[in-house]
Amino acid sequence: MAAQTLFDKIWDSHVVRAEPDGTTLLYIDRQLVHEVTSPQAFEGLKLSGRRPRRPGATLAVPDHNVPTTDRTVAIADPLSAKQIQTLEENCRDFDITLFDMNDIRQGVVHVIGPEQGFTLPGTTIVCGDSHTSTHGAFGALAFGIGTSEVEHVLATQCLVQKRPKTMEVRIEGTLSNFCSAKDIILAIIGKIGTAGGTGYVIEYTGSAIRALSMEGRMTLCNMSIEGGARAGMVAPDETTIAYIKGRPLAPKGELFEQAVNAWRQLKTDANATYDMTVTMRAEDIAPQVSWGTNPGMVTGIDQRVPDPRTIADENQRQATTRALEYMGLLPNIPMTDIKIDTVFIGSCTNSRIEDLRLAANLAKGKRVATGVRAMVVPGSGLVKQQAEQEGLDRLFKEAGFEWREAGCSMCLAMNADVLQPGERCASTSNRNFEGRQGAGGRTHLVSPAMAVAAAIEGHFVDIRTWK
């Protein structure tokens, strides 16, 4: 058999049927469902009299709309409340497992999947959410879909797909102190652009990727979509297997051993080729900060805000000018001169226990700068619980950070956690689009370490030399 990439192996093992023109009916092993992109899918099932083909292959959780404050109080926004109630009703009607808002296991859909052992190597996973790429960290083919396809997967456990192209992103070397997976992925997007990965599935390879923890790999794969790639993946290894072992929904006993044997075969063959390869040295990656209104508008903390006058391409120049105007930034100022008034540590990109441990230890014994509002939103109820057992909440609170309940929160500001017009936020989330965190709000994407340092100093600082 011809040499295959990791992607090829997963794709081929999920082909139900393929037409001569390449149109493929692809089997979907598992689906995650949340309250925002599912009501119309369930409504479609009801209207057509269809039932889910495998309700036991689906897991549902409310995350986008949930308040991150006291859960015993009713949700103030009636529309949010209605959407969450609708998810509960649909899960009941269609016999789908739901972690409701008061369940300790509730959290951001892309945090709870891996946490529960729902996310497994070699699987196909979808969700009506573009950050489904997160699950690729386990060597799964995981991608976001629209609501019509959510309904399609519920009804058939399949999707009609065309085989995407493959891109290898190889990062060799060792990251600088305090540089993280977030800095790697922001640097990659800065290099390939927000459409650079369109039509591709990325496989991340190289010694710097192998050295990442599962949390780091999730951060990395999470933002594949910000580079235009629907999916990103890392081949499973012993780090992956150790993470999965013993999780509630992971296979047990003999089944686990059988699965592990299969997972160890899931890697790109030595002679396999990709349609495209991008390489970077880990040593060349500085802590990243976005300055514009898409995740490709990003630079190192030791750089300056770009000057549109030096950009030759007209489209690029116009887009940069427009972005700087929205962001309220002057060209050529050092990134370290940018002052912030809000800090958000959370989201499906950076809200796992490792992120919180690092952030809490950096905040330990320090104080959030005067005039800065800083909030920490754990990725799930279980992450929150573990952080509290480790005393991280105390470190955050003593330093002046707000400690909140789990959810998507200010990443997309569908709940009450919203930036006001003109507010400027250092955010560990994944999108700095205009208005993403609130109309007129200004978002700078950073790692958790960079976010803590910005909270303490009131402006961005180079974490590598920060005392």
């Binding site: 139900v16 023109d21 709309n65 529309l79 497992t97 609501t147 309904e151 369109t198």
Partner: protein
Amino acid sequence: MQAFTAMTGLVAPLDRVNVDTDQIIPKQFLKTIKRTGLREGLFYDWRKQKDGSQDPTFFLNQPQFQGATILLTRDNFGCGSSREHAPWALLDQGFRCVIASSFADIFYNNCFQNGILPVVLKADEVLAMMNDCLATPGYRLTVDLGNQTVTTPDGVRSCFEIDPFRKDCLFRGLDAIGLTLQHEASITTYETRRRTEAPWLFTDLRYDQGGAR
């Protein structure tokens, strides 16, 4: 789903690159549990000026583009969030076709699920149309899915590529789920084989030991 065969329609110009789905429809409009009535949220933030009043320079607020059925825009349209509310809002506003030099994958796919034809043309073709559209009141284009062409008022014809399966589904307005269910036997055969190869993928998450319930 409504079929798309051919149409001639008024063109609305959105001369920007990288328009993300957060701009097409901001988050506050995602709280609906319906597919309809999303027109109100379409480009909501861009329709307004800083003081909250309507921005008279934005195309949706301009009388000459009322009734437009074709949206003309630039690179990487629809990037970001997978929200299908974006094509729903465009459809609710009356758009049946979006022409751009490139699209983000998920948005492109979502269009086909809703009877909207996304057309990819070369950047220079889009640029020429954009300039003509901005300069010519009542600028209309003819889009022919069968022949895969876009024709300008001057008779200049551009060809576009489209996946044959998607074209057929859109052209005939087929129910995608119904089509897949015609292959029910193949799905069952696959599941039976796969259950032997990888049995750990078939534990029922609802009743798994130590699992959800």
